[in-house]
Amino acid sequence: MEFDFGAVLVDWRLLLKGLVWTLGLTAVATVIGLVVGVGCAWIRAHGSKPARVVVGAYVELIRNTPFIVQLFFIFFGLPAAGVMLTPEIAAVIAMVLNLGAYSTEILRAGIEATPRGQIEAAESLALSPLQVFLHVVLPPSFKRVWPALVSQIIIVMLGSSVCGQISVEELSYAANLIQSRNFRAFEAFIIATAVYLLLAVLLRRLLNWAGPRFFFGR
């Protein structure tokens, strides 16, 4: 078998567009997903009983079903209920819901490990429950679970590769489209693999750098 990477690289515009989409989807899903995760973690710790049940059901539903099924449900299933979404919006929603559920569960572990005395000390300083949560409980919790969260964000980034199934033009979609035209499957996927690997390594470094600076201090 002879390799011809030129046949794939000639479509570099498609690959670049795919790369931009993958990064964009991941960035939006990470920001909103973490907000969802923090919100749900707050509800789990302080919300009313019904709210806690709803959040618990959401987390279990997402964590116990495959991502691609969630994606297909949002894109192919919801139109039956009159909710029409573009492929890109459907992909972002699926990724946000996914990361939101996992980060809720990951943050819960960090929050539960908060020493009781720390919370009592904060309460004795007359901080409101929300202030206690945001300033006393959350930052050290983030610090405890940051490596797990970073891994989860990378999993979501890699998981975005299935969004090509609903015609979102991300990186895997680009590789698949190129190989379906020139039949250079090996070369196309080797390139996609290398790009994903590079992205994952860079993203991990970025998050490991950003975490101490913006979320919890060193």
């Binding site: 192919f76 492929p87 199934q165 015609s167 979609y173 020139n182």
Partner: protein, 270 residues
């Protein structure tokens, strides 16, 4: 200590694999003669067929593959006097399956075009086939120019994906899906305004979803199906053409076509 041992062992395994690579390459080179020899030697033929493409290849309620392509595969195995092993493939991966020798032949509604002829060889045609654009009756689509600005669902890697780009205006909004079922699902759920696919699949879709009010709009291409084989395997090609030619003359192809597609095969190109 145990961990260290495991590391050493896995490193040794990796080394063995790397050391074996040149041997594998040599084996690949030695295998350059006809797949026909291998087939008669192992008494088994591996044929790639669709399982998501009624009426050419689909799985019935008893989970058994059936359809025009499957019957063709059975016919070829019977004529060669070997055991048939079906390999399910999708539109996007059927040619890689052939290139990587996961299948000896591809009988999967494969149309012939110059791009494909660069990488694989084709036998004579074995089945009729056409691709078209389909959409709701309420939408006026008289020519390819009318596709501009509309969303059209296509299956990635299928003939209509490649051919439509040549005739439709540049501002046509393509939505590409992995297999026919996803393309159909996107159109049925209203995610695309139009859909480009084979006439046979579209007929099935319209029959099952009368509420869509969908109809035939345009013909993209008449492209009969050919059997795909590895490039340069002339012995296999000659043998298969002999079988197809005989089936055409004795009416077997017409009978199969009547059964699955509702009309005789008619004149097919060589």
């Amino acid at each position: 200590m145990r961990v260290a041992l495991a590391v050493v062992r896995s490193r040794r395994v990796a080394l063995t694999i790397f050391a074996a690579l040149p041997l594998l390459a040599a084996a690949g080179a030695a295998q350059a003669q006809s797949a026909l020899d291998a087939i008669t030697k192992s008494k088994t033929i591996k044929i790639a067929v669709p399982t998501d493409y009624p009426p050419y290849g689909f799985v019935d309620t008893s989970m058994k593959p059936q359809g025009y392509d499957i019957e063709m595969a059975e016919l070829i195995a019977a004529k060669l006097g070997v055991k048939l092993q079906l390999v399910p493939v999708s539109s996007a991966n059927r040619i890689p399956y052939l290139q990587t020798k996961k299948a000896d032949l591809v009988i999967s509604t494969l149309g012939k075009n110059p791009e494909r002829e660069k990488v694989i060889d084709f036998t004579a045609a074995y089945a009729p086939f056409f691709q078209g654009v389909f959409g709701p009756k309420s939408m006026a689509v008289k020519s390819f120019a009318d596709l501009g600005g509309k969303t059209v669902g296509v299956t990635r890697g299928a003939m209509e994906d490649q051919e439509l780009g040549k005739v439709a205006p540049a501002n046509t909004d393509y939505k590409r899906f992995e297999d026919n079922n996803a393309t159909v699902a996107a159109f049925v759920s209203g995610q695309t305004q139009l859909v480009a696919m084979s006439g046979a699949v579209a007929a099935e879709m319209i029959r099952k979803n009368p509420q869509l009010g969908a109809e035939y709009k345009l013909t993209i291409k008449d492209s009969p199906c050919f059997i795909g084989i590895a490039k340069g395997d002339d012995a296999l090609k000659a043998k298969l053409n002999e079988i197809i030619g005989a089936a055409r003359r004795d009416g077997t192809l017409d009978k199969m076509s009547l059964k699955w597609l509702g009309k005789p095969a008619g004149e097919l190109p060589l």
